[in-house]
Structure formats: C-alpha cells, structure tokens
Amino acid sequence: MTGKNHPAGGAAVSRLAGRSLRGNRTRNFFVISAIVLTTLLLTSVFTMAFNINRSMELTRMKTSGGDFHGSFKYLTPDEAERLARHPSIKEFGKALLVGDAVNEAFRGTRVEIDAIDRQVADHSFIRFEDGGLPTGKDEIAMNTWALDLLGVPHRLGSEIELELEIDKKRVTRKFTLSGYYKADRYVAMSGLAFVSEAFARDQLSGIDPEMTRRSGTYTNTTRLDVMFNNAFGIEGKIHKVLADTGIKADYGVNWAYTSVELLENPLDLLPYAVLLLIIMLSGYLLIYNIFHISVVRDIKFYGLLKTIGTTPRQLRRIITIQANRLYLIALPVGLLLGYGVGCWITPMLTRFTGNKLEMAYSASPLIFAGAALFSYLTVRIAASKPGRAASRIAPVEAVKFTGLGGQGRKKFKRSAGGAKLSRMALANLFRHKKKLWLMLASLSLSLILFGTVYALISSLNVNKYLSTFIAGDFVVKELPDTSGVVSGTALTDELTRLLAGTEGITGVDRVYFSYEEMALTPGMKTMLAPLAEQEAPEFPAYSHILERGWIGTQLYGVDRGWMNQIQKGDILEGSLDRDKFMTGKYVLISEASLNVEGKYVTYYHPGDFIRLPGSEREYEVMALLNEQALYAAGTQVYPVGGFSWYLPADEFTRSVKEPKLLSLTLHAEQAGLEQAGNAVRSLVDAHPELTMKSREDYVEEMQGFITVFKTVGYGLSFTIALIGVLNYINTVITGILSRRHEFAVLESVGMTRRQLQRTLLYEGAYGTLLVGAILGTAGLYLIYKIGKGISDNMAFMVFRMSVWPILSAIPVLLVLSAAVTLAAYRLLTKATVVERLREAE
C-alpha cells in the first residue's frame, strides 16, 4: 500500500486532467468567465470597503488637521527641542503660534497665524497651488477661501492687508502673498495663515511663552507635532516621552488614529459580509452548474476511467485539478478588473452616503489576497460536488451502449391511458418530486426577488424625497456656524420682503421658530415616570427630565403654503381644517418624542387647550401630527421627551417673544424660474451667513443617488434572476442527458425521435406553467407585501406595484425551456451518432 496521504498515480491523474481541459474549450471558457465574474465582484467589494475606509481615515485626519500621530502643545523652544530629541520620535515639526487675523471680513471665522516649518505643512495636507511657505518678513501664505473673503486675487505677490491680534495687541500689517493653498472651510477647525520665521522673531521677540501660557493667549508657544514608529498606543508613547524628558506639557493625540475603523463596529461590516455571501453564492451556482453539466455529459468517460481502475479519489482529483488550473487563469483578470470597477464605483457610493468624503484609494495587498481567497473557496466548493458525483459514477456506465440494450431499468412510467404524449410528459415531470420542487422553489424565489427589487426601484419617487427637504422652488436658510448653531438672526423680515418682491416669485412661506422650555404637567409626569424607571442607568434621559422639571418644545410658525405639505397619513388624531387653523385660535402639535415601541404617545389630544410657554395665550389643539410631518420645515432635531407646536406664522409673530426666522420657501413661476433663481441667488449671496438651495439642486443630488441605486438595484435583480434561470437550465439539461438510457429504451419500444422531442417540450412547458402559477399567486402577493413594507419605511419611495417584469418572465421561460430542451436533445443524439460512426470505423 502506498503512503496514505500522497495520492498514487499523481502523474497519470494530472495528465488526464490536463488533456481533459484541452478537449473542453467551450466549457473552459464559461468556467473562466464565471470565475472572472466572481473574482471581479469580490475584488470590487473589497476595494470599495478599503477605499471607503481609507477615505474616511483621510477625512478624519483632515478634520483633525493633519496626519501627525500626536502633538505637544504650548511649549517653550527649549522644551520643544528636548522633546524632539527623544529617540522614539521619528519625525517632528514645529509650529509657532503668532496670533490671529481679525479683519472685518473674518468676522465669525477664526484665522490663526502661525509660523510653521516644512514638516508641519506636509503633514497638514497643505498643498500649495502656487508658491510656498513664506521666507521673507513680509511674506504670508494663506488659503483660498480666506483670500476670497478678503477679496484678494489668487496670485503670488498680491498685496494683503491684515489686522493682527498678537497677544492681545492689535497691529496692522501689509503682506505679499508667498503662496496659497486650497482648504476646506468647514472641515478644519479654523483657517490658518502662515508667516515666516523672520516675521515671528521680529514680532514675538519680547513675548515670553511661559507667560502667555499662563495668560491664556499662548502667543509664541511652540507646538511640536510628532510621528512615532507606528500608530499603535500613541498616548502611551507620548506619556513615555514626557516621563523620560521630565517635561510637563499639554498634548494631543490624533484621534483619527484612535480607532481601527473597520473592526470598530462589527455591524458596519454586516452589509459587506452579506454582499460577499451573495456574490460567492451566485458564483458557486454558476460554476457548479457548468461543472455538473460537464460531468453528466462525460459520464461515459468517467465510467471508463473507473473501469480501467481510477479510484473515486483520483476521479475527484481530476476535477479539482481542472478547477484549480482554470482558477489560476481567471484570477489575475478578475482581480485587475475588479479593482478597476471598485475604484470606479466608490466615488458614487460616497456621494450616496451623504458625508462629504475625500476620495482616497487603497491598494492594500489585503484586497487582492482576500478576494483571491474567497474566490478560491467558491471555486473549490463549487467543483467539489460535481467531483464527488464523478467519483461515484458506476464503471458499468462505460459499457452501457446508449443505443439499444440495457435491461429494463424500470423507471419510466407506462401511462395506462394510452400513450398520449402530454399526459406522459406530465407524469414524467412528477416522477422526481424532490428535484421538481427544488427547481421550482429556487426559480420562483429568484424571480420573486427579482420582481421585488424591480418594484422597489420603480417605487423611487423623487418628489417624495424632495418633499422632505424642500416644499417650493427655492429655500433660503441660515448656515450653521462652525459649532452647528443657528443664530436665527440672519433672516430678517426685510429680506423676506425683498425676496418676495423679486420678479417671478409668486409666494413666500415663512417658518418661524422658537425653542421653549415647558414645565412638566402632572399628566406628563405620569407618562414619563415608567419610562424613567425602565431606562438604562448610563442614559438617564428621562430621569433627567423629571429632575429638571421641563421638556423642550419646538415652536414653529408656518405660512399657509405649508399646510399643503401635511399628508393624510401624517394626521394621527383629529382633522385638519385649513381655514380654521389660519384664524390663529388653533395649534397643531406633534407626537411626543418618547421612545415607546409600537405606537405613538402624546401629552395632549385634539380638543385640549394648551398654554404657550412664556405667555398667557391658550390654543385649542386641532390635530395631532406624526413626528415626520412637515419634516422639511423643521430643524430635524427632536429633543427627548419634547414635542412640536405649529401655529400660523402671523399668530406666531404676535405671541412668541423672540420669533426667529428659520427658513423662507419661495415659490416661483415656472416660466421665469431661471431668472427668478438667479435674482434670489444674488440677493442671498450678499449675505454670507445665508444659503440658498433650489429644487434643482436637490433634484441633482437625488439624481446621482438614484443612478447609483438603479445601477446597483437593476444589476442585483438581474443577477438574481440570472442565477435562478441558470439553475433552471442546468436542471433541464442534466435531466435530459441523464435519461439517455431511458430514451434509448423508448426508442426501441417504438417512439420516434419526433415524439420524444415533443414529450420533452411538453415537460418543459408544464414546468414553466407551474412556476407561472406559483409566481402569479404567491409571487405577486409576496412582492406586494414586501415591497410595500419596505417602501413605506423609506422616505423617498411610493410603492408602485410593477407586475410586468415578473409576468414577462413566463413567456421568456417558455421560450428558454423549449430552446434548451431542443439543444440538449440535439447534443444527446449528436453524441450518439458520432460515437456510432467512430466505433464502426
């Protein structure tokens, strides 16, 4: 006995596998294509994940200001020197805090003046579009948006006059631009401008960093940005440095490094994992199908090998070797294409996620290694079952002549009622019940899935999406400042009148806003108490509310136009009477923002009278609205335990103490839309705190999102349908090929070729009709239920039942089954004839 582990006859097996490959070019082509497809998809998923990860990392770094591992702040030059010399610090850069620029133009935007060196610049993502860091005393480098605010052209040598505040003293200086760079106004903590070391020395000569440290201006303090060996345990390393040098200093750890993003939240990985699984499954089905058909076709070949003395294990190895070799050929192609596709899709996806992400591409070898590994797994598993089938082929198959002969392997049913072909076909179909149901299930399932996804895509409703953002043609809003706070003073009534008067504007709907604390009523306390008891001690929101004694209410004053935005489904209790509402005696309230499962809760019901906090006036509650109602009008912020009030705008201005204008929604004539838009825009541009967005802007945004959704959605649904159909084809083909003995017997009994063909066609047709029946009943029902369920929960979907894709599948299947049946039959008879010819020679 040869050693148990190493397979005997390896050379012979290898040769058989190799020659077999050469003789099967069509099959090879399909297998390679399938593997390429699978690898492609896998690689693109990996690429996307890694790219997104890298982009997020980059963005975070940009937000935190740079990619330094950590920094020591507010140092004296001496301290900085000593720290920098620590052996664990591989790279460092120094930044000297000079002061701030306090020009009028910079009101509300902080621009810090530093003197930095090359390292700091490089690691802070400062890439000069032109020029570089200043060298001369009067040179300065600034970013483009700051230049824009000053109205300075982007040109080297431009003159800039800056009012500087250095250590609480103001000084005006003229500078020439030594270089400018692009910066993201809203990402970095503040704007930066850089002066030369010469200037710093000049200005700061008398300033003692130790003193400014204490005084809080930190002028002339040095910040030391450092890079260690790697990003692990940055804080620990910093502590070590401080301990070793004995210096006490403030420090910062670059939080962009503090989390290994991908693994942080396993739930984030879930969609990727699901995607991978789907891809592997479809790849598996494709490859398995092809190999299976191949084995069934070559059943004589494998039977013969078995007769000669090839063991089951060796037969399995033949298939495995073939699969491996095909995999190796397909792999590089799939990897490369997949990487390309992944890099192409990623920007689309980042647009979809909404966050402004800077695109960064990752070329980590892990992408390729991971994709190659999963792809190999798929191929191996897919080839294993056909391999096992091949190994179990009985040697007697080799000698079974596919013509006459073979003692009645009685499997075919003799229909008692005459030889009516169609009846026989039906009986045949039900012979292998298990196989039939399996095929029906997989096909129906995939088609239903296809139909559902398709219906969902058709349910994408732009308008519904838009209505969550904009109710009219233009909306003018105040921009939140760098801390996200809206002052509420930017929009003025005067501006409102100006805008309303602009040519082409037909109407203005205002939204006023105020935030009031409302004292807890006994009723509220009763409702809050049980919630406070049940809540987790780490998040004592409700207890806190009970303790402090008030809830936050948001008061909105809305113009009539907003009434139209209230959907039927938004009204939970009561009813909406517009005219009555506009009288000002009524209020619409929203449900309470309490985290109660299942249904809504409210403190008040229609008919109740509630008093406006901070005033004496009372209003009768006309109706109770859903939290999502008038979404576009609100702040999209819901304080815990609170609720919202909606009063007519005029009533609001009368009763609320400090009404703030939150937004203006402008309606315009369709004819002069563009001009109106331009006019409004120029008006708004004059006020930098305000921003204007038109319906078109949102539509554009939406379009991009829709495109992605459609591409992915259609692609996915078609792939799913394809898999089901391929499986179906496989079943049909193998069903025919594996019954060749039976056909031979039938032929000998007297059935003509024609009749046999007809029977097979009937079988296929009946099968398809069965599928159709399933689809038409359960299928449509499921699509409706699932589709509606999902789209009701999505803001931008209005469920539209599209029946035609799933119904059109039936004629397609009919044609397909007929074509495949005929092709398989021809394959069968052709093989037999050729064999006969060859053997007779």
């Binding site: 007769t307 003395g309 009645g408």
Partner: protein, 231 residues
C-alpha cells in the same frame, strides 16, 4: 486454486413482477492459463455475467472469487484498485481514452497505480501486437482492429490475473476479427494469461480451449469441449 470461481450467481432486475432474471444461479470455475469462451444469444445474460466477473456491477446474490478474493466484499475504492491491478478488460467498442495516445492508454492502469512502468515488458506487448509504429498516435486515427489491439495491450500491461473480453470482435469485420482472435490467443499463451471471452459468434468461440454455453441466465447442459490447449 482456480483463478476464477463463481458460486450461484444471481442478478435480478426489479422488485415487482415481471422480475427480469438476467442471471439465474450460475456456477463455474476457470483454471489458470485457460482460454474460455462463453457463448450465448443476445439477452442470454452473458454480458451481465462478464460485468459481474469484473466487478463492474453488483449481484443480487452469489459470490465471485478472483484469485481467491471475494469481489463483492470489497468497497468501491478497494474494488477499483483490485480491478486496476488484477483484471484486464477488452470491450466490444474498444473504449480507449480518446484524449490519450496509444502508449499512454496502454500504461494508464500502471500509472494510476503510481508504480514504475516495466518498459521492457510493455515493449514486448507492443511488439507482439504489432503496434510499434503507432505508439504516439491518438485512438481516433486508428482503425477498429488497431484500436482493439491497443485495448488488448492495455489489458495485458498490468500482468493481470484475468483478462475479460466482451465481444472483442463484435465491431470488426470478419477478416480483422480473425486476426484479432489469433493475436489474442497467441499473446495469452506467450504472456501466460487467463482469458474469459463472451461472444455470440460460434466461429470465434472455436479459438478457445473451452466453450461454456449460456441460455436464459443459466448454463446450458450440452457438454462442450473443443480440447485442451497444447499437448
């Protein structure tokens, strides 16, 4: 010890009536070195019998011993290996592997075993069957008779205990059949092989030392001996 021993072999098809009795209780022995022909009309069960002997199919009841080994007691893998080493097959339709050339076809069973090919021996077989100048050709390029000779060579290559031939001349014209039969007889003597051949052709059967007749799955009782070989 006889090289082949069959005890009460039965092969029935089907559970319900009408049950097809392909073999209905066959017993026989073959001594080492014999050339036995099993003759019968088509449907008499002779093919089934041969398949049983070679372990290509399993019996309903009964036993087959080849070289003292109970064929049906082996599992699929062991039986395959046994077949590879101890039984050589010659089929009516040659059944050569179309993707391998003549030489590769002949040595395939040896190579599957992982053992070293005895080149001298294989060459002798090739020469004895007149295949010397066809060694690198693919089966598709050969005539029927030539293919059958390759099949015979393959059957002999592993020095098996038993050579089973299933209508070896069934697909050949009479002239080629004659030649193939003579060759078969000659090489079996030259290389000391035992041959069991089934055929429906009485003429061909005459080449054998002993003829066994089969009818309806049973051995016919007509005593037939065409004389022992040699002497």
């Amino acid at each position: 010890m006889p090289i082949l021993q069959i005890d009460h072999l039965k092969k029935y098809y089907g559970q319900t009536e009408p049950v097809v009795k392909a073999l209905d209780g066959i017993s026989l022995t073959v001594e080492r070195g014999e050339f036995v022909a099993i003759v019968g009309t088509s449907g008499s069960g002779k093919s089934t019998l041969l398949h049983m002997m070679g372990g290509l199919d399993r019996a309903t009841s009964g036993k087959v011993f080849v070289g003292g080994n109970d064929i049906f007691a082996m599992n699929d893998e062991a039986l395959t290996i046994f077949r590879r080493r101890s039984i050589g097959f010659v089929f009516q339709h040659y059944n050569l592997i179309p993707i391998l050339n003549v030489y590769e076809n002949i040595v395939l069973p040896i190579e599957l075993d992982g053992t070293r090919v005895d080149k001298d021996y294989v060459e002798r077989i090739i020469r004895a069957l007149g295949l010397k100048d066809k060694v690198h050709q693919l089966p598709s390029r050969l005539s029927g008779g030539q293919q059958q000779r390759v099949a015979i060579a393959r059957a002999l290559a592993t020095k098996p205990s038993l050579v089973l031939a299933d209508e070896p001349t069934g697909n050949l014209d009479s002239k080629t059949s004659q030649e193939v039969m003579i060759l078969l007889k000659q090489v079996s003597e030259q290389f000391g092989q035992t041959i069991v051949m089934i055929t429906h052709n009485e003429d061909i059967a005459q080449t054998a030392d002993r003829i066994i007749r089969i009818e309806d799955g049973k051995i016919a009782m007509r005593p037939e001996t065409s004389g022992k070989r040699g002497v």
